[in-house]
């Protein structure tokens, strides 16, 4: 029995201390000795990797700022199917909103009977905002709506090959695939404390804001008005000449800027999964950039330019055209099959003389000099344009294992050599631009999300010929239009051009029926503002009509005349002054 208050106080103190000691001990153990272990466990419970909302990609505009490719806000829909009370009713309500068959949706929404775990199932992807709002209004806790983006092609299939697309794996075509690292917004994923609905806790704001960082916008050199016009003309030509394909390319020779490039057949970029599913992937390849063909006589302008620039010939040079020339085991004949007698450089272009072109390469220049110019004009090499899958074409050189002497005789008039329409336009632009060959480009400007704007400068690819030679060849081409290719003439303007009618190589020879007709030219002289390449594949018209001058030249003329109007280029007599 304790006596007195002091003894009782002591007893109480001892009891309290005894009671506190284990608590203190536990605190020391938890807070100090095993602190790190418990901290790790606690972090593992609440810390998760979380991603910020998907950021929008950079948009693509034409040179006037008109939107070509934008971002459409859409939603991905999912459901925690264990939480659904009336599956039948839910399927009936959601089916029209999700554009899914009701029965299929009902099966998706039905949870297995013997499971206790929470099951989440994706229902559909990329529903429009309008449908998402209607679903939100239903106020069903088990349905999840995740914001996402979908590429929106404002002009439908316009410039589809150039714009291209990128699939979910980051692979694709066109400028979008080539510039993916700029276009794609930064997808930010962090590790931090998250709430029960896996959204980051407010403390995470200390780490930085949670606003998605968009991609870089691209401003292209394309002009959508010119592009739409050119595509319309190409479609019309395809129908009129019953062609299987075609390309029209418009380029500024002073800068290398591509103003329009249209090819057929084409596709609608937003429907690319359907094309892939149907095995139509070949549609994605851009014939203007990625498919080389034997250009035929349009290459004669390059041969004439090379011969003139080499100094081996001048405007007074002439040769005797006997209608055929044997070289390297092949006999070269003029397309008309006739002899033209004494001919000069103008005659070679006016009459499109294969024998004359072969004479220049085999007897005037020789292989080394001729191919030096062919390379200088960029054939057999990619131009470096900002789209995927650019082809380099095919140029056989004397050092190649498969070289044949006959190439030297056939290449100057565009046989046995393969080029892309883009290469052809680039080479001819050198003639239009005082001998300076500009690198073709499609991206004019990058606009970064922080407000910075970077203009992409024009690059010189080189100067294959002198300014004087370029002016002489341009004059020869212009005279050729004025005398023999009147279908390419534009009233009030001086234009220069050359037609081509190329046979299509097959195994062991050339297709006896089919041809590719083309026309390449520029104008207005003396200061050309645009270069145009027109190529029409396999026109199904009477044989007598299957010539570049009869099919491609009128198309060239139509496009050139309208572009002078669209670009506000006054007629030659007005530009020259009173």
């Amino acid at each position: 029995m304790l006596r007195g208050p002091e003894a009782r106080l002591r007893l109480i103190t001892v009891v309290l201390i005894a009671a506190l000691l284990p608590i203190m001990g536990q605190l020391v153990r938890l807070q100090i000795l095993e602190h790190s272990q418990y901290q790790t466990e606690a972090e593992a419970l609440v810390q998760r990797q979380y991603a910020l909302p998907e950021s929008p990609w950079g948009v693509i505009m034409d040179r006037n700022g008109d939107l070509l490719v934008g971002n459409m806000p859409v939603y991905d829909v999912g459901a925690e199917i264990n939480m659904i009370t009336d599956t039948q009713m839910a399927a009936a309500v959601l089916a029209p909103l999700l554009n899914l068959p009701e029965e299929e949706l009902r099966q998706t929404l039905t949870a297995p009977e013997d499971t206790q775990e929470l099951i989440w199932r994706p229902l559909t992807r990329h529903i429009p905002s309008e449908s998402a709002r209607k679903i939100q209004a239903l106020n069903w806790g088990w349905i999840t709506l995740s914001p996402a983006w979908e590429r929106y092609y404002a002009e439908g299939s316009l410039a589809s090959h150039t714009l291209g697309f990128v699939n979910a794996e980051g692979m694709g075509y066109g400028v979008q695939a080539f510039q993916l690292r700029f276009l794609r917004g930064e997808q930010i994923a962090r590790v931090g404390a998250v709430s029960s609905d896996t959204s980051p806790m407010p403390d995470e704001l200390m780490e930085g804001n949670l606003i998605p960082y968009p991609g870089t916008d691209l401003c292209l050199t394309l002009d959508r008005t010119i592009q739409a016009y050119v595509e319309g003309v190409l479609d019309q030509a395809m129908v009129e000449y019953k062609a299987t394909g075609g390309t029209i390319l418009v380029m500024d020779p002073h800068t290398g800027a591509i103003l329009a490039v249209a090819s057929r057949p084409h596709y609608e970029p937003y429907r690319y999964p359907e094309y892939t599913q149907n095995g139509q992937d070949t549609l994605f390849t851009d014939p203007a950039v990625s498919i080389a063909y034997e250009p035929g006589s349009v290459l004669k302008v390059v041969s004439v330019a090379a011969a003139l620039d080499s100094g081996r010939v001048d405007l007074n040079w002439s040769y005797n055209d006997t209608g055929q020339l044997e070289y390297g085991g092949v006999v070269i004949r003029n397309s008309s099959g006739t002899a033209y007698g004494r001919q000069d450089l103008q005659g070679i272009l006016d009459n499109s003389l294969n024998v004359g072109a072969a004479t220049l390469s085999t007897q005037v220049m020789g292989a080394e000099l001729f191919y030096q110019y062919i390379r200088a004009f960029g054939f057999g090499q990619t131009t470096g344009i900002e789209v995927t899958g650019e082809a380099s074409g095919l140029v056989h050189l004397p050092t190649d294992w498969d070289w044949s002497d006959s190439y030297l005789a056939t290449n100057p008039f565009g046989q046995g050599i393969a080029v892309t329409p883009l290469q052809l336009a680039t080479a001819v632009s050198a003639i239009a631009n005082d001998g300076v060959m500009m690198q073709p480009h499609i991206v004019a400007e990058r606009r970064y999300p922080d407000g910075r704007t970077v203009s992409i400068p024009s690059n010189e690819l080189g100067q294959p010929i002198s300014a004087e030679t370029a002016r002489l060849v341009a004059e020869l081409m212009a005279r050729s239009v004025e005398t023999t290719a009147k279908a390419a003439q534009v009233p009030g303007y001086r234009v220069a051009g050359k037609s081509g009618t190329a046979q299509i190589p097959t195994t062991g020879g050339y297709d006896p029926q089919q041809v590719i007709v083309s026309y390449v030219g520029f104008g207005p002289l003396p200061d050309p503002q645009i270069v145009i390449v027109v190529k029409i594949d396999r026109p199904d018209v009477p044989v007598s009509m299957r010539w570049g001058t009869q099919i491609a030249a009128p198309v060239f003329q139509e496009v050139m005349a309208r572009l002078f109007t669209l670009l506000g280029i006054p007629p030659s007599n007005l530009r020259a002054g009173p």
Partner: protein
């Protein structure tokens, strides 16, 4: 008379009591100060969380506005796309211009 009482009455414990009161006051002061600091801390933390929540909400609003903005951009692009403009032009009876007639001002 007990020893304790004697100490109290004879002033020995009075000094102890004085000292204990001082200690008690100090402890009380410490407790009050700690409570005030704790209350201030809790208020700041609560305020911080509240502000963070507001910022969070605003950032969500910005994201929503960003999506609305993109939707509007696409809608403007759709309405000003070439096929739509062509339809509207035809409806308004416009005709495509084939050529441009240039007027050359004479030099006086």
């Amino acid at each position: 008379m007990s020893v304790v009482w004697q100490k109290k009455t004879h002033g020995v414990l009075r000094r102890q009591e004085k000292a204990q009161r001082l200690v008690a006051k100090l402890l009380l002061g410490v407790v009050i100060t700690t409570s005030l600091l704790a209350a201030t801390y809790l208020t700041l933390v609560a305020s911080n969380v509240h502000t963070a929540r507001q910022v969070w909400d605003m950032e969500h609003q910005i994201v929503a506005a960003q999506r609305d903005n993109e939707a509007l951009k696409t809608e403007i692009a759709r309405l000003s796309s070439i096929p739509v403009l062509q339809e509207r032009s035809v409806a308004l009876d416009y005709q495509p211009a084939e050529t441009i007639d240039y007027l050359y001002p004479g030099v006086p």
